[in-house]
């Protein structure tokens, strides 16, 4: 079974803090993704990576950066958290091509 884990289920941060969200997959998948999910807006792609040290912007990259130093780990970084980044953050991975994306349990982030 594919397993995607995320470092925290719930996180509360202050405006201006630097925030790290970590995602680890155990299936040797090439591709990894970060989404945010908001009521009425659905899932929106922030960044994705198709190889170690490779990254591409998704639909809403502003205010975020990512890091992929190892194949199994993909980090999302909020350089200076703002209240409009309060959201559910979901990580996913896939083997590539037209393979299925498998999601982690999500991190619910509250920025005060």
């Amino acid at each position: 079974d594919v397993k995607v884990t995320q470092s925290s289920r719930y996180l509360v941060k202050r405006t201006g803090e630097k925030v790290f969200l970590e995602c680890v997959q155990d299936m040797d998948h090439e591709n990894m993704f970060w989404y945010r999910q908001d009521p009425g807006l659905g899932l929106r792609l922030i960044y994705f990576s198709y190889d170690v040290k490779m990254k591409e912007k998704g639909d809403i990259p502003e205010g975020y950066s990512v890091s992929r130093e190892k194949k199994e780990r993909f980090s999302l970084i909020l350089e200076s958290a703002s209240t409009n980044q309060t959201s559910m953050y979901l990580c996913a991975s896939s083997a590539g091509g037209r393979e299925t994306q498998y999601f982690g349990p999500g991190t619910r982030l509250l920025v005060l």
Binding site: G42, F48, G96, G97, R98, Q101, F103, P105, G106
Partner: protein, 112 residues
């Protein structure tokens, strides 16, 4: 630009009352259409992938079908445990790797 529209936004059924969820899409060459189930506060759980018009897949009370413009998720004799949000996503043939475009989801509530 790829687009996915799901309808209705919400659906309330009585236990045993069969129905269908709709996913309409426009995409520049379909590589795959994906259905996920999402329970409150959790990450999406993969259900089905459909690749070409006419294809059908079944799992327990769920059956997914695909045409050139839309996909249906048929639920036969639903039970309260089928209550969840159902997400549809498309992957285009062109473009980078496994990027998916999601619909906003359909929230299904099944009353006992």
């Amino acid at each position: 630009e790829d687009q996915v529209t799901q309808s209705p936004e919400a659906l309330r059924l009585q236990e045993g009352e069969s129905s269908s969820l709709n996913c309409s899409y426009t995409v520049s060459g379909l590589r795959g259409l994906f259905w996920y189930r999402q329970d409150p506060g959790k990450g999406p759980e993969f259900l089905f992938t459909l690749y070409s018009a006419g294809e059908e897949k079944e799992k327990e009370r769920l059956k997914a079908t695909l045409t050139k413009k839309e996909s249906f998720l048929h639920i036969t004799a639903p039970k309260p445990e089928d209550s969840a949000t159902y997400l549809c996503a498309v992957q285009a043939r062109a473009g980078a790797n496994s990027k998916l475009t999601f619909g906003k989801g359909i929230t299904l509530s099944v009353r006992p």
